[in-house]
Amino acid sequence: MPIAANLIKWDALGEEALIGLAGGVGLVVAYGGLLVALNARAQARAQGRRTAPAALAGGLFAVCVCVALLAIGFVAMTHKS
């Protein structure tokens, strides 16, 4: 185990796992939220209603999270350590 500890950067691997998890799952949830909001809008339109403000706000928030995650990804791509 001490040999492995010397050879492997466990901290960096742990961070990689956490960031990968947060980014991957975060993007799936945020994009899913955007689709739920779009779905609510489509249903409201089909029924001749206005889209609920909560759905609009949720959709806008989801777009912001997706754009932020893509921007972080782009920065990671261009600023390798």
Binding site: N6, L7, I8, K9, A12, L13, E15, E16, A17, I19, G20, L21, A22, G23, G24, V25, L27, V28, V29, Y31, G32, G33, L34, L35, V36, L38, N39, A42, Q43, L70, G73, A76, M77, T78, H79, K80, S81
Partner: protein
């Protein structure tokens, strides 16, 4: 004069490696998008090609690391570089023939290890460095990507149940195009630059470029175009494996797999591991199959792929060692490299002809 010829052969071989890297790895970004019909096959590979070329210009960090930080240019020769590249190309072509996704990066590292070992003895290889920065991340990265994809796919299907058919399917297909594009761009920033680094290193070893000089513009252009062309040719055999054979992929699954892969890929890249896009995307595709239903994954194929990964490093190393020995025996600066280049081309041609017996084209994926 002999040295000039050897340099030209090394550069040509490096660009050939870049080309095989491109068509071998097209599947990483686009297999799931093609499988779910988010994009027509030809459009998908064209998009991947353009993004790979663009990615090659985004950063030169990987190229600089390879040309200056990993190998001491005073300890390496053009013969070693040539042997390493031939070893890597051989493994890329053999795994392509068997439709197996495997890492071009690890094939190249294996090639360098094999050739350097034969040239300068076991002391030329930093075993601790190889274990810590290559082998462990190679094992851990696909597991992490798979775990992220399991959770991502589970959540994507939960969300998809709340959507009407049109919005769900169309929406996730559009999302897949975005996440696959991110993987393509990231691939360009990594893999095209490995070739740029190797060519720059060859120029420094030859003495035509100062060690402190940056990567020449023509090298960046040549490497970017070479990987782009390779990507556009499309490794349809591996696309078929990743998109159809490993697991059946629905749009929410494809989106979760590509998002997980992109996220782990960029995190590994940021922390400076010489990551393998292939390992990460394969792990994510298997994870997306598990996340949907365990039985959806064809485990016998997954085992064959993992076996290919295990063999990549030693196989490429063994070929490179043999090539180095042959080149130096035949005459390092002239006859040896020329004969080896001709033999390598003939072997590649033979592999292509064998592949034509059971061709896989865009219409099959």
């Amino acid at each position: 004069m002999g040295n000039e010829l050897l340099l030209v052969i090394v550069i040509g071989t490096a660009l050939a490696f870049d080309f095989t890297n491109g068509f071998h790895d097209t599947a990483n970004a686009m297999a799931t998008s093609i499988a779910t019909r988010a994009l027509p096959p030809r459009v998908a590979v064209a998009l991947a090609a353009v993004l790979n070329v663009a990615g090659a210009f985004l950063s030169l960090k990987v190229a600089t690391t390879i040309s200056k930080d990993i190998v001491d240019s005073s300890q390496i020769s053009l013969e070693v570089l040539l042997a390493a590249l031939v070893g890597a190309i051989s493994w890329n072509l053999v795994t392509w023939l068997f439709s197996l996704p495997s890492s071009s990066t690890h094939a190249l590292i294996g090639g360098v290890i094999g050739a350097a070992w034969i040239a300068d003895g076991s002391g030329a290889v930093d075993v601790d460095g190889v274990v810590g920065t290559v082998i462990v991340p190679a094992v851990v990265s696909p597991v992490i990507a798979g775990a992220v994809a399991v959770l991502g796919t589970f959540l994507a299907f939960k969300i998809a149940r709340r959507l009407s058919g049109g919005v769900g399917t169309r929406g996730y297909r559009v999302g897949q195009i975005g996440s696959a594009s991110l993987v393509s761009l990231a691939h360009g920033t990594n893999d095209a630059q490995k070739t740029m680094g190797v060519i720059t290193l060859a120029l420094v070893v030859h003495g035509s470029l100062d060690k402190s000089a940056g990567t020449p513009t023509w090298v960046i252009l040549a490497a970017a175009l070479s990987i782009g062309l390779g990507t556009y040719v499309g490794g349809w055999r591996i696309i078929e494996t990743m998109g159809h054979k490993l697991t059946k992929i629905e749009p929410p699954q494809g989106f979760a797999a590509e998002s997980s892969a992109a996220s782990v890929l960029l995190a590994s890249s940021y922390f400076g591991y010489p990551l393998s896009t292939t390992h990460i995307v394969s792990g994510a595709v298997v994870g997306s199959g598990i996340g949907r239903r365990l039985s959806e994954v064809r485990w016998s194929l997954a085992r064959r792929i993992v076996l290919a990964w295990l063999v990549t490093l030693p196989a490429a190393a063994a070929v490179a060692a043999g090539v180095y020995e042959a080149v130096t025996q035949l005459g390092g600066h002239s006859a040896g490299p020329v004969l080896m280049a001709v033999l390598a081309l003939a072997a590649a041609g033979a592999l292509f002809r064998i592949a034509q017996r059971h061709p896989v084209t865009a219409s099959d994926v």
